[in-house]
């Protein structure tokens, strides 16, 4: 897109048409922990079948935002919608369409791969028989079918992440959130996971929100949301964000955008 508008305002329609309703809409969300403001008037959308990178340093507010989208925290101000379902008013329908991979590992280490998947399926009300079939299919897809019965504890970091992604897909969500999923992984495991998730976008039309502070995980066609000290500094297709910052690459663009604001907005 070469639209000159600084921020692409997405179509807001009361009765949504599936083609235009965003996978995820964040609308004017602010959040404070006591006096500390973690998010300040954050708004952006993630479209279906798109890869949106949420770029921010540690402490930018990424994890807070994830906690709000997944209803771990209540929303103080603003709205979060998943395919038009408000997370506050209609959490059941919203969460059904959402798969999430949290930053800390959330697997039962002493249970087997399969047991972990079956537990997750049960939490989504998926019957045992369906759950077994889907678990087998997903384990096959992530190349861990032969490990189905082993304990998660015996997996490598990269394998655990793949398992977590498989688990997040078990209930066939249309939106997938990943919070710094490649932290602590080696180069090969990182590359595997990134390509796997990108495949999900192109092949299955899943909308992905990928939080990261690693610039090399972003590609030219991606949408970008730059979050810094709780505020969205820039958003849009990657090329536009870079151009508007007057930079050559993401790295410089990010430094320019955030550098200007490092000291002031800090506050308490």
């Amino acid at each position: 897109m070469t639209s000159p508008a600084p921020i692409a305002e997405p179509q807001e329609m009361p009765s949504p048409d599936p083609a235009t309703v965003p996978a995820l809409s964040i609308d004017g969300v602010s959040h404070s922990y006591g006096p500390r403001r973690a998010l300040i008037d954050v708004s952006f959308n993630v479209q279906p079948a798109s890869f949106t990178a949420l770029l921010g340093l540690n402490g930018a507010g990424k994890s807070t935002l994830f906690s709000l989208i997944t209803r771990l925290f209540g929303i103080q101000t603003g709205h979060v919608g998943i395919f038009g379902n408000d997370i506050g008013q209609n959490p059941g329908e919203a969460l059904r369409l959402l798969g999430v991979v949290f930053q800390p590992r959330t697997l039962d280490l002493d249970l087997s791969l399969k047991q972990n998947l079956l537990y997750h399926a049960a939490l989504h009300g998926i019957s045992r028989r369906d759950a077994r079939a889907r678990a087998a299919e997903l384990l096959d897809r992530i190349g861990l079918a032969d490990r189905a019965g082993s304990k998660v504890r015996d997996l490598s970091g990269g394998q655990m992440r793949r398992l977590e992604i498989a688990r997040a897909l078990l209930h066939r969500p249309r939106l997938l959130l990943l919070d710094e999923p490649t932290v602590g992984l080696d180069v090969k495991a990182r590359a595997d996971i990134i390509s796997h998730v990108r495949q999900l976008v192109t092949e299955q039309g899943i909308g992905v929100l990928w939080a990261t502070h690693l610039f090399d995980e972003i590609m030219a066609g991606d949408d970008l949301v730059v979050l810094h000290q709780g505020k969205v500094l820039a958003q849009g297709p990657m090329s536009r964000v870079i151009a508007e910052a007057g930079a050559q690459d993401v790295n410089t663009a990010f430094m320019r955008l955030t550098g200007a604001q490092t000291m002031p907005g800090g506050g308490a």
Partner: protein, 282 residues
Amino acid sequence: MSSITTRDAPPGFSASEYMTCLTGIVWREGLRFLHQRERFVSALVRPLVWLFIFAAGFRQVLGISIIPPYETYILYEVFIAPGLMAMIQLFNGMQSSLSMVYDREMGNMRTLLVSPLPRGFLLFCKLLAGTAVSLLQVYAFLLIAWFWDITPPPIGYLTVLPALILSGLMLGSLGMLISSGIKQLESFAGVMNFVIFPMFFASSALYPLWRVQEGSPYLYYVCQANPFTHAVELIRFALYGQINWISLAVVAGCTIVFMIGAIYAYDPSRGLARRGPAGGEG
């Protein structure tokens, strides 16, 4: 990408989805319990130490008169057995709350809370699962105690079941309520000191309350007000095929209050939200 926003099924959840979720949570809790053999062993050893050592020593010191539900003179071991059963559940309730704090620190709790089913229902399932685990422990204890001449009427093993479920739910929801207020694992030692020990000792688990009253009327009132006393009495009577209505009312009432409190405390817009970011928040 035909129907993305809407599913074919009507909104909400079917009864079978609720059931699948419940059995899944109980199943997982059971698996975890079986994997932690030390936990099972220590859950059994604790009451058995009381039974084999403490009770043997105190048998001579404490005379037990005939009080309901007993119809004859009984050994001290027989008297404290229901108290020890309740103790198993007390520890189990607190231990599952400990595991909830642990889960929350480790992020494991998130998997549960991100389930689309109503959060109150999820927490209730978690409570039922913890209670089921405590039942395993109590019946294992009863089996061993049987060889130690603690032989309630056979029907008692059945009639005590509903009492155990109720007391398990009460102690579990108390643990859950406490866990919602604990920020870190380290604080759990305080729970031992300030919850488990006072609840256990200021109750009718180890001595009949009329004896307490002789010693200290004030302590007697404390014991009377202690919900744990009523859990013990409910179990004691049920083990002999009887119902202690007052205890039943107190335990049922406390269960409801604690449960509502716990569900309220884990409500996203209130409890957890006030607490700010957890451990490794970015």
